[in-house]
Symmetry: C2
Subunit: 150 residues, 2 copies
């Protein structure tokens, strides 16, 4: 077995184990689906409020943007625990489970990007907020393109 | 007009205005209902994980409880903006709108209680967490008894 095969196998095992233990907290698959969709609904609302400011459709209020960015950052770590094996369905494409390493990588990029957005929002520099918002939005789009049903 | 009548009228106006402007962010009443239910779903999940620790059903892990308490505290300020006039329905009793001053008072007590729970959780004192959890849970129950459909 070559090194990269061992690494891949190890990664797959870790993903499977963490998904399995995370799933255990939900009584039924529907509960996991409802939970992850709820997280994205709340996250999307706050992200959308920042989007309106970035697009110039709403005035920039530092406290409001900082609060919404903190909500997005706090929620960004939550939905992934609800994509465990046996929870297929909802708006998730089968690739979430068949290409879980890529999904996990996307999830990590998103969390890093919204953490940067939060840092920019707390500092209150609108130019930095706009840049960080663009990068964060790109991580949403990339993942939705591959893993969310149209 | 006596002073307490003026105060009541002022409070009612402020509540109505803030509810009105908050509602404006949701395109349709269903969006507001979906949003507030999503907030409570995510909040309840984290609160439930703390409950399991408090009841001794799950081991105490300081970081986990601190994270879940932070999620609850962050989310606690969010649902109220989605109870604006014209968004009646879902699991909300009509009293949310007909007795909005009491509803608002309950909402404020809940936010204070979960802020205390978060403080206790960050400090990592399990006895304090248990006390603060009990007080926070009581604010959930009190409000659900009067304002949530059975």
């Amino acid at each position: 077995m070559k090194l990269h095969h061992i690494l891949l196998a190890t990664t797959a095992t870790v993903v499977a184990l963490s998904a399995g233990s995370a799933f255990a907290q939900f009584q039924k698959p529907e509960d996991a689906i409802k939970y992850r969709q709820s997280v994205f609904t709340v996250l999307g609302n706050s992200f959308g409020k920042i989007a309106a400011v970035v697009k110039g459709e709403a005035p920039y209020n530092k406290d409001e943007v900082a609060k919404n960015a903190a909500v997005v950052a706090t929620l960004s770590s939550l939905p992934w625990q609800a994509f465990g094996s046996g929870t297929e369905g909802g708006k998730a494409q089968p690739e979430v489970w068949s290409d879980s390493a890529k999904f996990k990588s996307n999830a990590e990029k998103m969390q890093l990007a919204v953490a940067s957005l939060n840092t920019a929002a707390q500092s209150g520099d609108l130019d930095n907020i706009k840049k960080a918002f663009g990068a964060a939005g790109q991580t949403c789009k990339t993942c939705h393109d591959d893993f969310k049903k149209k």
